[in-house]
Symmetry: C2
Subunit: 554 residues, 2 copies
């Protein structure tokens, strides 16, 4: 049996794993990752599926654990490349995928199938089952892959919540029975292995929010993830309890909640919802606004409200704003800016740190141990996490008696082979990287382009253009120097003049060399002009802008 | 009396405040801030001192609370502009400033004076005193400004550490006596107001590190801030206890520790230190390496070690690496990458979250209350913090009985007036922003340049150059299209060809219009070429690179 992680090992995001037995391949999750600061201009990052491209006819199905972007977000890009194999998901997950594929106009070509957690699906010689887990979205499941060589359990994201908002607990009994039956490999979520103890139940937030609702005199604005359906349910329930109406704001918030209501995953009493256009007709003390933007996303509803750019919603002094999420690494500044802008306009703002307004959807270290104790797997392959988290997860397993050689800290692109008799090991490493989505381009932005964007972002660019007579080598026009992102040209005329003279000097010196030495060409002169200018600029300013000289012959 | 915060209110960093009484002005701290992700290519950010520029002859002195960069780092840029007024600092702080000004070749022009915390300094009608506080660097003080209108206390950064590593506690008695004497305004550190309770003592780390030293079989590598002298002392003490030698690595680590040793702030027994070049002659179990790079700084010692680029130090499996700091917001990714690289090479890595290897140098909420209880100020102006922290600090003061109108949440550039009878209020707001340092340029990178860098970083740049006959308007050469940071040109030949045709078309259409309509010129054609190309690219790729067309006439 082979496990081939294609994303999510060594990073948080773009989760995807291929599992092979004989001629059969299945895939668990096809997620995306949001770019980090160094991936300049990149919109999304998706898994590199080169490994699968010559094996398309062996793929028996894609199985999705839950409907979050880091588990389904790459489907619109990758499904067509895989020729739309059958895709299995529970009902809410299926609904979210449907919304997404419809937006990308791929719905009619997709092969989507709804499963109940009790179903089993045959995939060649493998049989796939599901077990309910808790997470910050309903209808999340672990995937159980039974093969003649043994059973693999892929947990997806999970926590054990004994008092979940939707009342449906993780199937602890099911995991225990599976443990009795025997588990060969556990691929387990590592996201919160660094947090000791247990992750609090989602209902802990109920008390915090209830208190805030009781105290609020004016409007209540709650920002959270659009996919955090259970948090939206909480807001709706409290609004009803405190006799307030609810306005849902933000495109993804509206789309997701509408779908969740239709499918019965979000319960909103008739007459509770109001349109955002109508909110000014409702007294502030009778209104709750549930919106996107808890991560400070630039085009989100909350960011627009905070910066005074929202079409329908302006901050009113006395508003209570609740950021019901923790900033993801990299978003701290943007979140902080929103909080400051809201405070300045007279809103009172509650955020994690000031009140317990968010709990994680991932199990902490003791829950990871509970999972290991229930399943008692022979082998452990930590998934979903930075490398250091995978290492920690392996250590946790070892602390529970699993031999070190039975835990594998793998990375994207590793090919892992496992069998009951033969042990588990990494047999090969494929070159596997990120595929960048930028606008409509998928994969056309690579390392060269990103390196150039980084250079450009640091010190800008200088372009030098001169036109020369191809016969005489005399300058006919220019040199013209244009800059962007370098210095403010109007205030740097002296510098630009001196730079121009340097270019003319360098041109004369080296174009003579060119004439004397027939083998040299304009490329040689161009390089010399660039080097001279680069040196001059560095000496003057200790900066290294990109320099692009162009010599046009006529 | 006037207080004019020039930095540090509404942000973490570049702390600087002017305090005026009558004709006299003093300044507390002149710090820098490291740029955030949006300040592309900027090296440092320093306060905008426009407010002071027409008042230079009124400045009686600069008083420094302690030697950290966010309190002294802008001195090399701002001292010359202020004509080097007298600068007062305690001994270690003075030493650190000396090192810094020598590097900038400003030492002989500076007017530096060493003070003991018991000294008082006359500054026109004001009298300045000092009170010892604890912080993550020795010799930190609060500044006490006595004026005929009342006393201002500026705490600088502080915590109350009852068991500090250097044995010198904050002068609680002094603060209490000052409270009895009467305090008009408290400008108090807000950095950790969001943390409930008390910040643990620096000596808590002793136990953690002692355990790690006992367990380590191989080398121990401790990364921390070069200015965190007390942490370095801890490492040296434990090395001596565990019979290990110490190598100090990293330029700033070497410079700072050398100065601290000379001034008697760091105690290292003879024979303990070894040169980095000699470490391979020492058995791994007998060596401690203390280095810079705990924040993942790209050119720091630890980052080079982690990425295998260090000249003298390679990771040996069995190394114990301790990151003795918490990542500052924005550095999480870089720190995480170092940890992962070290783990991959077989080092064991301890960091905050896995073990208590760092404590903050700033007091938590209860210590902020202790300061308020000791001083019982009439007015409170929270300093050092994001806007939301200043708001929280004001609320803490209010919770202790200070009327809301006596707490002022101000921002950089506000002019605050205070008097015992007249209350406290913001009377004016000066336009006050960031001054960017990029290479040797100070202030020449402004919003226009930064905006261009942001555009360039997102989708790159396309340059279009064509040479035309100024008489006939015929194209003599080009159009040549060059791109950087846009797409990989070799793989996008078809796109580039189509773009070139679009340019030629647009040129022909609009250069004819130019001829027919004498008032239009080449600028008009150029703009049309740009718009056409921009539209074409957006349609094809949904990207908006910067487009720079140049039409050269010969």
């Amino acid at each position: 049996m082979r496990l081939v992680p294609l994303g999510g090992l060594g990073e948080i995001g773009k989760n995807m794993m291929a599992i092979e037995y004989g001629e059969d391949i299945i895939i668990v999750d096809v997620g995306l990752m949001f770019p980090d600061d160094e991936m300049l201009g990149v919109d999304l990052v998706i898994p590199d599926i080169t490994y699968l491209m010559d094996k398309l006819d062996r793929i028996r199905g894609i199985f999705i654990t839950h409907g979050h972007e880091d588990h389904v977000g790459a489907l619109p890009y990758i499904l067509p490349q895989l020729n739309f194999p059958p895709l299995y998901a529970t009902r809410l997950t299926h609904g979210l995928i449907t919304v997404k594929l419809r937006e990308h106009r791929l719905l009619d070509r997709a092969n989507l199938r709804i499963v109940e957690p009790t179903d089993t699906v045959r995939a060649g010689k493998m049989e796939i089952g599901f077990l309910r887990v808790n997470h910050s979205i309903p209808d999340a499941v672990a995937v159980v892959i039974r093969t003649p060589a043994g059973t693999v359990v892929h947990t997806g994201d999970y926590k054990f919540d004994y008092t979940p908002v939707d009342g449906i607990r993780a199937d602890i009994g099911g995991f225990a029975r599976l443990g009795d039956e025997g588990v060969l490999v556990l691929c387990g979520d590592s996201t919160r292995v660094e947090s000791p103890g247990y992750t609090p139940s989602e209902s802990v937030i109920t008390d915090t929010l209830d208190t805030l609702f009781s105290q609020a005199k004016g409007r209540i604005i709650i920002a959270t993830f659009a996919s955090l359906i259970s948090r939206v349910q909480l807001a709706v329930d409290l609004a009803v309890k405190h006799q307030r109406k609810v306005a849902l704001v933000g495109r993804s918030m509206v789309n997701n909640t509408q779908m969740a209501i239709e499918l019965g995953y979000l319960h909103v009493p008739t007459g509770t919802l109001v349109a955002v256009e109508a909110i000014n007709h409702i007294p502030p003390s009778e209104l709750v606004i549930v919106c996107t933007g808890s991560q400070g996303e630039p085009t989100s509803a909350l960011t627009k409200i905070a910066s005074g750019d929202h079409r329908f919603i302006q901050v009113i002094p006395g508003d209570t704003v609740i950021l019901s999420s923790t900033p993801i690494v990299g978003n701290e500044k943007a979140v902080s800016r929103n909080i400051d802008n809201l405070l300045r306009q007279g809103a009172d703002v509650f955020y994690q740190g000031r009140a317990q307004v968010h709990v994680s959807g991932h199990g902490s270290r003791e829950e990871i141990k509970l999972m290991l104790a229930l399943l008692r797997p022979r082998y452990v392959v930590p998934v979903h996490g930075e490398y250091r988290m995978l290492v920690q997860h392996a250590r946790v397993a070892q602390s529970m008696g699993i031999p070190a050689e039975n835990t594998i800290v793998a990375q994207d692109g590793d090919i892992i082979e496992a069998s009951a008799e033969g042990g588990i090991s990494i047999v090969e490493h494929l070159p596997s990287g990120n595929v960048y989505v930028d606008g409509l381009g998928v994969g056309d932005v690579g390392q060269v382009v990103l390196r150039d964007r980084q250079l450009l972002s640091r010190d800008g660019i200088l372009m030098v253009v001169m036109t020369v007579d191809s016969e005489s080598g005399e300058i006919l026009a220019g040199p013209d120097i244009m800059t962007r992102g370098f210095v403010y040209e109007r205030e740097s005329e002296a510098l630009m003049g001196a730079a121009r003279n340097k270019v003319i000097q360098a041109f004369h010196v080296h174009s003579q060399n060119r004439n004397r030495n027939r083998s040299a060409d304009w490329g040689f002169v161009r390089n010399k002009v660039r080097d001279t200018l680069s040196e001059f600029i560095y000496e003057k300013l200790k900066r290294r802008p990109m320099i692009l000289p162009l010599i046009v012959e006529v």
